[in-house]
């Protein structure tokens, strides 16, 4: 057991304990620690008086400010909505022609929709609607379910093959998997569909043309230009949702195609859906 020693650097005595050579100074706790303690504890005390803080069995101390996060956030949302109420109401109720004619309202609609597009649509349709394999490009003039603001708004509301009762419904059968066509027939059709860029020749006697008219024309049309509103796309425009090469066409014929887009009615408000329709219409450059 050692005795207290004076440390030459600090001038303090040690406590007299030694552990494997380690000693400790018996120096006082610096004043600033206590000052600091008073400040932080006062902060806590004040917060406990002002805010909901301590549990009391079934309830808790409510605090003098009467703040509660649930009512606070509800009030914040109400205030934000009130700020936007006039033009959001206009957006939800006026027809698109009127909205387009009002430059101020139109600017607000596009500014509202852009981040909403980034948050909700971009994950599939890509930045600025450039699309990707399986997800259509939106910044062009090619539309399966219609490209006017009204039609886009409808598609946003009901979705495609979605759970909405009035959803756009379209399914291409799995011709190969379900045995509707033989492997040879699918090969012939695959080759034929790749030639459709030149359009459908009248009275084409080839096997491909016959197979097409029997199996595909019902939806895609005798001229293969698609039938608007049926969900069957134009096959002659060189624009391919799933890729226009033999592998992808064959795959589509074998397993069919059942693309989906959710219904956005439960997630976006009517005003937001209409703002989005205008924004997407604007993206495609078809805005009249």
């Amino acid at each position: 057991m050692s005795v207290e020693e004076r440390d030459p650097v600090s001038g303090y005595l040690t406590t007299g304990h030694v552990w494997n050579g380690i000693t400790e100074l018996n120096s006082p706790v610096p004043r600033i620690v206590f000052a600091f303690m008073v400040v932080t504890h006062l902060y806590a005390l004040v917060a406990w008086f002002l805010l909901p803080a301590w549990p009391l069995g079934q309830t808790f101390t409510k605090g003098l400010l009467g703040i509660d996060q649930k009512t606070a956030v509800a009030a914040d949302i109400a205030a934000a909505n009130a700020d936007r109420a006039d033009w959001m109401d206009a957006l939800a109720t006026h027809d698109f022609e009127t909205i387009r004619a009002d430059p101020d309202l139109m600017a607000r609609a596009l500014a509202t929709a852009e981040p909403l597009f980034g948050q909700n649509c971009q994950v599939c349709h890509g930045a600025n609607g450039i699309g990707g394999p399986g997800y259509p490009r939106l910044n062009d003039n090619i539309w399966v379910w219609g490209g006017t603001a009204d039609e886009i708004a409808t598609t946003l509301r009901v979705g495609i093959n979605a759970d909405h009762p009035d959803t756009h419904f379209a399914q291409m059968p799995a011709f190969g998997r379900d045995g509707l066509l033989t492997g040879t027939e699918i090969s012939v059709l695959t080759d034929y569909v790749q030639t459709l860029g030149a359009g459908v020749m009248a009275d084409d006697p080839s096997d491909g043309a016959l197979l097409f008219q029997t199996n595909c024309a019902g939806c895609h049309g005798e001229d293969a230009r698609g039938i608007s509103g049926s969900g069957a796309p134009n096959l002659t425009d060189g624009d391919w949702l799933y890729g226009g090469d033999a592998t992808n066409l064959r795959h589509g014929l074998v397993v069919g195609r059942q693309g989906q887009m959710p219904s956005w009615q439960s997630r976006l408000t009517e005003a937001e859906i209409r703002a989005m329709a205008l924004y997407v219409e604007d993206l495609s450059g078809t805005a009249p």
Partner: protein
């Protein structure tokens, strides 16, 4: 090493190894078609290896009784080596995870390498496997030296060490296979959790028995901290891991709590894992190796007492600050926030006590990279505890929550405090227990120090910037009153910071690799043992 065990210890070790093999066999048999079976085979393999290892020395002559006059350092050596192996592995995985944020396709299309599986491998690997082995190893060293007593027996330290590493192995390999309880920092499933309880209670009993044998009248501060670490982690783990297995033959279980209660229990656990695993335990480390290396008395005994009880009392209240602006009632958030602010005083008192201890030894901080590691650790301990209290204030948290600021904060603690103090402690203890005059290359220690510091600063500055930028982007409104940026906009803005983070992580990983090489070169072929003795008479004063 095993031949140092007494006859009784060998017999008990043999029985335990056989029981482990049997446990593994049972898990492998009942866990048919379940990943738990893989863990069963691991335990079976480990058990069989141990049976043969112990069986090989069963009939060897009894160990020399003179060993009882020495400290028992073998488990410390193994613990240090394991910590370094885990450290290199887990930090390499961390680098991979960081790279995924820049090149998300770098999973090579494999399920096991997806982000959601790699991330817990990194966090568990660094915190529990690297940090835990470092804590266990150094605690064995510190308690023996400061108690002037040999470990209470020679078997339980091995049980703790091997058992704990089996837990880590189960945890990490389980994540790769998709086993998780989905609770952050508490992902392992029920059987691993039960196993950890057994290991941890053994650890506690060993610690208490050794303390009881101490030849010093007082218990040194470092031991208070190590003990707080062991006791509170046991309590946290047992409560938070409470779960009901779907069946005894599979890994899946459901937590005992649900909804907001589950969230509160989880973050009561989660924050106190930070407090008592990543803080108390490593403060124990700092309180021993810093004064030894600086050759200075602790600045203030009274400050030690104040900060120990302050930290131990206040930390247990603050977990709710992880759940600001959630379904958690407002009053619980207020308590978490205010206690977090009060906690700053004892935290800074600890950091200040360490830094003031260096008064009179600043020339050593300048010249000795080992001490400099611990100096930087104390500075970053102070910085990250300030940051922690600051981020716990609700309006600040509104900006920082869910951003990379949180990730930056954790790494300022994990790299700047936890890893730095561990390296300082390792470079102090390794030459001593392997009976070498110094590390193989002091120059490599310098290299490690500067690589680690450069990596640390690069990393945390990148993520501070990233987090604040994200937080600000997420709350920017445009003239129409709509949020101006989508989430993907903020992700695109993060790219330069994420690249910088990869650079910082690479530097830090390079540092620990240099350290591992240096440690290997130091201990390779070392035949000597620590020169100090527990019962040698103390120098006359």
């Amino acid at each position: 090493m095993i031949s140092h065990l007494t006859r009784t210890e060998r017999n008990v070790a043999m029985t335990l190894a056989a029981l482990l093999a049997l446990l593994g066999l049972t898990m492998a048999a009942v866990g048919n078609h379940d990943p738990m079976a893989v863990h069963g085979f691991m335990a079976l393999g480990l058990g069989l290896v141990l049976v043969f290892a112990v069986g090989g020395v069963l009939e060897e002559p009894l160990p020399n009784p003179a060993r009882l006059l020495q400290y028992y350092d073998d488990p410390i050596k193994v613990g240090i080596v394991l910590a370094m192996i885990w450290g290199v592995f887990a930090m390499a995985i961390g680098l991979w995870v960081a790279a995924l944020m820049v090149w998300p396709d770098a999973t090579f299309g494999q399920a096991w390498s997806s982000y959601g599986r790699l991330r817990p491998v990194h966090t568990t690997g660094v915190i529990f496997a690297f940090g835990g082995n470092a804590l266990i190893a150094t605690s064995f060293h510190v308690m023996q030296r400061t108690c002037r007593a040999r470990l209470a027996d020679q078997l339980s330290p091995w049980l703790v060490l091997i058992g704990y590493n089996l837990f880590c192995l189960w945890a990490v390999s389980g994540y790769f296979m998709g086993i998780t309880q989905s609770k952050e920092y508490a992902e392992p499933e029920w059987y691993a959790d039960i196993w950890l309880v057994i290991v941890w209670v053994t650890y506690l009993v060993l610690y208490l028995r050794t303390l009881k044998r101490r030849a010093e009248p007082h218990i040194y501060v470092a031991n208070w901290y190590y003990l707080a670490f062991i006791v509170v982690v046991a309590m946290l783990h047992i409560v938070n891991a409470a779960a009901l297995p779907v069946s005894w033959t599979g890994a899946k279980s459901y937590p005992a709590f649900s909804g907001v209660q589950d969230a509160m229990v989880q973050w009561w656990y989660g924050h106190n894992a930070v407090a008592f695993f990543m803080t108390s335990g490593f403060l124990g480390m700092l309180y021993y190796y810093l004064p030894v290396r600086a050759q200075r008395p602790i600045f203030s005994y009274r400050l030690s007492i104040l900060s120990f009880w302050g930290i131990t009392f206040f930390y247990l209240w603050v977990g709710s600050h992880h759940l600001h602006y959630t379904a958690l009632p407002h009053w619980v958030q207020t308590l978490g926030m205010t206690f977090s602010v009060m906690l700053l005083v004892p935290s800074w008192a600890s950091a200040g006590n360490a830094l003031l201890t260096l008064n009179g030894a600043w020339h050593r901080v300048r010249d000795d990279a080992t001490l400099r590691f611990m100096f930087v650790a104390a500075v970053f301990y102070g910085l990250s505890t300030f940051e922690g209290s600051f981020l716990a204030i609700r309006p600040v948290n509104a900006l920082s929550h869910y951003t990379d600021w949180t990730v930056g904060h954790v790494h300022s603690g994990a790299l700047g405090w936890l890893a730095m103090v561990t390296f300082g402690a390792f470079y102090s203890v390794i030459p001593q227990i392997w009976g070498r005059p110094a590390m193989y290359s002091p120059k490599l220690v310098e290299w490690h120090f500067w690589l680690a510091l450069a990596g640390l600063l690069t990393y945390v500055f990148a993520l501070w910037n990233a987090g604040i930028t994200q937080g600000l982007m997420w709350r920017t409104y445009n003239d129409a009153g709509t949020l101006n940026y989508s989430f993907i906009d903020s992700m695109e803005a993060m790219r330069p910071y994420y690249i910088t983070r990869v650079v910082g992580g690479s530097l830090f990983l390079a540092g620990i690799c240099v350290g591992a090489v240096n440690i290997w070169l130091t201990v390779r072929g070392a035949r000597n043992a620590a020169a100090d003795r527990p019962l040698s008479p103390q120098p006359a004063e």
